[in-house]
């Protein structure tokens, strides 16, 4: 499939590139695939045509945006990949699994080919709380909780959503929820190149969110957080990731922890934290998750070497949840969990549903599940949360 490069090169201002290589240099997948973003930019500049069919590696990009964060000439290399994917999408040349996910989002509002009406099932055991929240959203609430597709449907991640609800209640927050009206935020949709679908989601979701009129929206997933904050154009609403909200509640004293995760002998649980790309690198939220972990009694926080700005992408973003990529054998997640294990940590804490799934899978495959457990921060919080809400019945 041939692409005439001139127009896109001009629109994306690729001529700003000086071919310094900082983008490819820092690209996590460049080491294991033929994806070379610098080279792609160069070809766009010097060739008049590009044959997209010979670039299967375009689907390897995880949209971690390390290249965008580091480019000294503000070229935004990853946007080229997204634009090229867009061409492929329009030409109908996409991996089947991505096509399926996109179609599912279009039809059922989630990528997992699950029915829309099953979206509320995550609230098992907390149905009343959810109903209350849905009513609050109708009436107008201060805080809207956007659950997200993966936390809603994936039963490994559903406990995270439930734990969050319990936190909201514990802190006495006026929280609303959209229920089965909630539809995929589209962050991955844009990054997979499906511009039309993304624009539709922005319009429809945007309207729905504005109608609720909440002052704040809090998300489970950094992906939803990222797109609402940076791409939706909701200037009157404060968009928060749950770590930001919780850190704030802790600071204000509206949330307290009781109990301890330490063993009976008093041995603290050693926890290391993995910065998700969409929370850390892209939105500079580094300190709040750590503040929460440190506030949990009986926990010792150790840092991996590649933390914060240098956190190693789990390879879950950019559509990679739905496509294997060109190199199945070496997974970055393997390297990552090994690094976590090497810190001597008992728990690898995450704050993103994609990281949770990919890293946990890596732990299993690498046979590290005896020594290292992958948990979302909410799952840790849930264990020490002081609950005083009468109608919440716990599952975890």
């Amino acid at each position: 499939m041939a692409l005439k490069t001139a127009r896109m090169t001009e629109e994306l201002e690729l001529f700003g590139c000086i071919q310094c290589g900082k983008c490819t240099g820092g690209c996590p997948v460049a080491r294991k695939t033929t994806l070379n973003i610098r080279d792609l930019i160069y070809h766009m500049m010097v060739d008049s045509d590009m044959d997209l069919d010979t670039h299967a590696e375009l689907w390897d990009c995880t949209a971690c945006f390390t290249c965008v964060e580091r480019c000294p000439k503000d070229v935004q290399p990853a946007e080229l990949i997204i634009a090229l994917r867009g061409e492929l999408v329009e030409g109908g040349r996409i991996p089947e699994t991505i096509g399926t996910a996109l179609m599912s989002i279009f039809r059922q509002g989630n990528p997992s080919s699950m029915a829309r009406q099953d979206r509320d099932l995550w609230a098992e055991g907390m149905e009343a709380s959810l109903e209350q929240a849905k009513q609050a959203a109708q009436d107008g609430c201060d805080l809207l909780y956007f659950v997200g597709c993966i936390p809603a449907y994936d039963n490994r991640v559903q406990p995270v959503a439930r734990a969050l609800m319990r936190v909201f209640e514990s802190a006495g927050l006026d929280v609303g929820a959209l229920g089965t009206d909630e539809t995929c935020c589209g962050n991955e949709v844009r990054r997979m190149g499906e511009v039309g679908l993304f624009e539709m989601l922005v319009e429809e979701n945007g309207e729905m969110l504005r109608n609720v009129g909440a002052d704040q929206i809090v998300t489970t997933s950094p992906h939803c957080f990222n797109t609402f904050k940076n791409e939706y154009g909701l200037p009157d609403t404060e968009i928060l990731h749950y770590t930001q909200l919780l850190a704030h509640l802790l600071e204000e004293g509206d949330l307290t922890f009781g109990g301890s995760l330490a063993s009976e002998e008093g041995e603290k649980k050693v926890v290391t934290y993995h910065d998700p790309c969409f929370l850390g690198k892209q939105n500079q939220v580094y300190d709040e998750p750590r503040a929460i972990i440190k506030a949990i009694p009986g926990v010792e926080l150790v840092e991996m070497d590649r933390s914060r700005e240098r956190s190693l992408c789990c390879e879950g973003g950019g559509g990679r949840m739905w496509v294997e990529g060109t190199n199945l054998e070496e997974r970055i997640a393997f390297q990552r969990v090994q690094e976590a294990a090497d810190t001597g940590a008992d728990i690898l804490a995450v704050a993103c549903p994609f990281c949770l799934l990919t890293l946990e899978d890596a732990v299993k495959v690498q046979g590290l599940d005896e020594q290292l457990r992958v948990m979302d921060i909410m799952e840790l919080v849930d264990q020490v949360l002081e609950e005083d809400v009468p109608d919440a019945s716990d599952q975890e």
Binding site: Q19, C20, E69, E309
Partner: protein
């Protein structure tokens, strides 16, 4: 206006530049009929000797007291015609020019319209000439001395040049020693001369020079006055050896600013782990180690040393889009010295471009490579610790010439940190009203033709405070600043704009609006008499105050309301 105006009008052909588009004879003939005009001529080249002779002869023969020349831009030849007229006895400020070249013949094609426009321009100039007044040329005396702010190599070089002519130089330095940043260096490129040989003799010469007074541990607190007559107050200790301050004030005629630069803080690029890893250091720290002769890190001699260029430079995202100019050379220097000290070490420089442009620079780069320094093209993305070998780090980069990402192991990493505008100079910037360019460094008056002058008369720039540069260019620029600073000091006086604004004290209401609007701080309210007085030396004749004054108390000499309105009348009534 005491005299009856007797105006001579001269229309220049400028070869064919004007005559090809404007009917110059016609314009001269039309001008002859204008009120006040006694004689009107046209000639091929008015600025030439014969052309000027025409003017002079007519002044004598016809008793002219005003001259109008319609020719090129006054920026070309106003001084010419003023001087010629003055020689024959007409006050130079009673000469007016009409620009019928740049503003007429050069920009229009239609001869008819161009000629008519030229007629209007000439009529307008003549109308103004009727009202022109004689003004005197003004010169102010100059205090024979220069202040140099900053005792680095730029400041010292400027001070020496001033002092060597026999004039007094005052050198104010914030730190407790002279030498600035060069004092922190080991060897200098491209000769590899040691700083310990280069700097002390220079410092000694400065300290022992009979015409230089050095103030260490001192800062400039206040600057008053104007070119030729600055009064500067300096706070801090005066170096007992070098002299004393009288009431803390120095009087000088010129000021040279040589305040240097700041070094980029590598923590602003956290992906390099500068604060995390002891084996990631800056180039300045490397200079120290090279001076001490000790390159051990983590207790071992490094086997693999890597240099990373452009740290904090050429980076729009950081807000430092500029090139820091010296890093390619100093990296070539350091890398080559490391190879000499550690012949078994692998030394690699990661670069984007190699900017070894100076005299001897390219040869120096060739030399470094011949000594075994490897140059790899790729801007390093991040550094992390090698798992299992914590004394080693891994540089994450792409070698763009191989087209492959690499994970490069190193024992010691040197960040070639760039130069930034010195933050502490915001105070000097305010005191001296020095504007800055987009990159934050001080702005010179014109990038090409006035590289050391500033918008403030009598204040000059030297060295890295104006922009990153190496020692040869710094010294050259410092000497250039000295030259500019010396001119008024050697002349003994400084010419001052004659066309300045004057306040009529009877009309002045003391409102102070003129003070607010003046960019040069020329007007000041006299607290006792409640009127504004304009310092004719500071006034640049921009006219903002005259336009603002609600009491019409301010007269803009050479551009009075009377004159300008006469011009407008001439333009619209024809």
């Amino acid at each position: 206006m005491e005299q009856e105006p007797r105006i001579g009008v001269y229309i220049c052909h400028c070869g064919v530049n004007i005559a090809a588009t404007v009917e110059v004879e016609e314009v001269a003939a039309a001008a002859a009929d204008l009120p006040g005009v006694v004689v009107s001529r046209d000639y091929t080249y008015m600025c030439s000797d014969p052309g000027q002779a025409l003017i002079k002869e007519d002044i004598r023969a016809y008793g002219l007291n005003r001259v109008v020349v319609a020719s090129c831009s006054p920026r070309m030849h106003e001084p010419t015609f003023r001087a010629a007229s003055e020689q024959a006895g007409v006050n130079p400020y009673q000469v007016e020019m009409a620009n019928i070249r740049e503003q007429c013949s050069w920009v229009h094609k239609d001869k008819r319209q161009a000629t008519e426009k030229a007629n209007l321009l000439v009529a307008s100039a003549v109308a103004k000439a009727v009202h022109l007044e004689a003004l005197g040329d003004r010169e102010v005396d100059v205090t024979p001395g220069a202040l140099v702010i900053g005792g680095g190599i730029a400041g010292m070089a400027a001070a020496l040049d001033v002092a060597d002519t026999g004039l007094q130089a005052y050198l104010v330095e914030k730190a407790d020693h002279l030498g600035g940043r060069v004092a922190d260096l080991n060897r200098t490129f491209p000769t590899l001369e040691s700083v310990s040989e280069l700097l002390p003799p220079l410092i000694e010469r400065v300290q022992n020079h009979p015409n230089i007074t050095v103030f260490l541990n001192s800062e400039v607190a206040q600057v008053n006055g104007y070119v030729g007559n600055f009064e500067v107050s300096v706070t801090g200790a005066a170096d007992g050896e070098a002299g004393e301050l009288e009431e803390g004030t120095i009087k000088v005629g010129s000021i040279v600013v040589a305040t240097g630069y700041d070094v980029f803080d590598p923590d602003r690029l956290p992906e390099f782990g500068y604060s995390d890893y002891p084996n990631v250091i800056t180039s300045l720290e490397m200079e120290e180690r090279l001076m001490e002769g000790d390159l051990t890190v983590n207790g071992r001699t490094p086997e693999r040393v890597a240099f990373i260029q452009c740290v904090g430079s050429r980076d729009k995202q950081l807000g430092n889009p500029h090139c820091s100019r010296v890093c390619c050379m100093y990296t070539a220097k350091q890398s080559r010295l490391v190879r000499e000290m550690l012949p078994d070490a692998e030394v690699t420089v990661f670069y984007i471009d190699v900017r070894t442009f100076g005299k001897g620079g390219e040869e120096f780069y060739d030399d470094a490579r011949s000594k075994g320094v490897r140059y790899r093209r790729g801007n390093v993305s991040e550094i992390y610790r090698k798992p299992g070998e914590p004394e080693r780090v891994i540089l994450v980069a792409e070698d763009t010439l191989l087209g492959q990402p690499i994970d490069f192991e190193a024992d010691l990493v040197v960040l070639a940190v760039g130069m930034e505008a010195r933050e502490s100079t915001s105070k000097i910037s305010q005191l001296l009203k020095l504007p800055r360019s987009a990159d934050g460094f001080f702005l010179e008056a014109h990038p090409k033709l006035r590289p050391v002058d500033t918008a403030m008369a009598g204040v000059f720039l030297a060295g890295c405070c104006q922009g990153p540069k190496d020692i040869p260019d710094t010294v050259a620029q410092a000497k250039a600043a000295a030259s500019s600073a010396l001119i008024p000091l050697i002349r003994g006086s400084v010419p001052v704009e004659s066309a300045t604004a004057v306040v009529s004290e009877e009309l002045c209401a003391g409102c102070g609006m003129c003070v607010e609007v003046c960019p040069y701080e020329a007007p000041a309210l006299d607290q006792l008499w409640r009127v504004s007085r304009i310092n004719p030396v500071l006034c640049e004749g921009c006219g903002a105050c005259a336009a603002t004054c609600p009491s019409s108390a301010i007269r803009m000499q050479h551009f009075t309301a009377e004159q300008v309105l006469a011009q407008v009348d001439a333009l619209i009534s024809s």
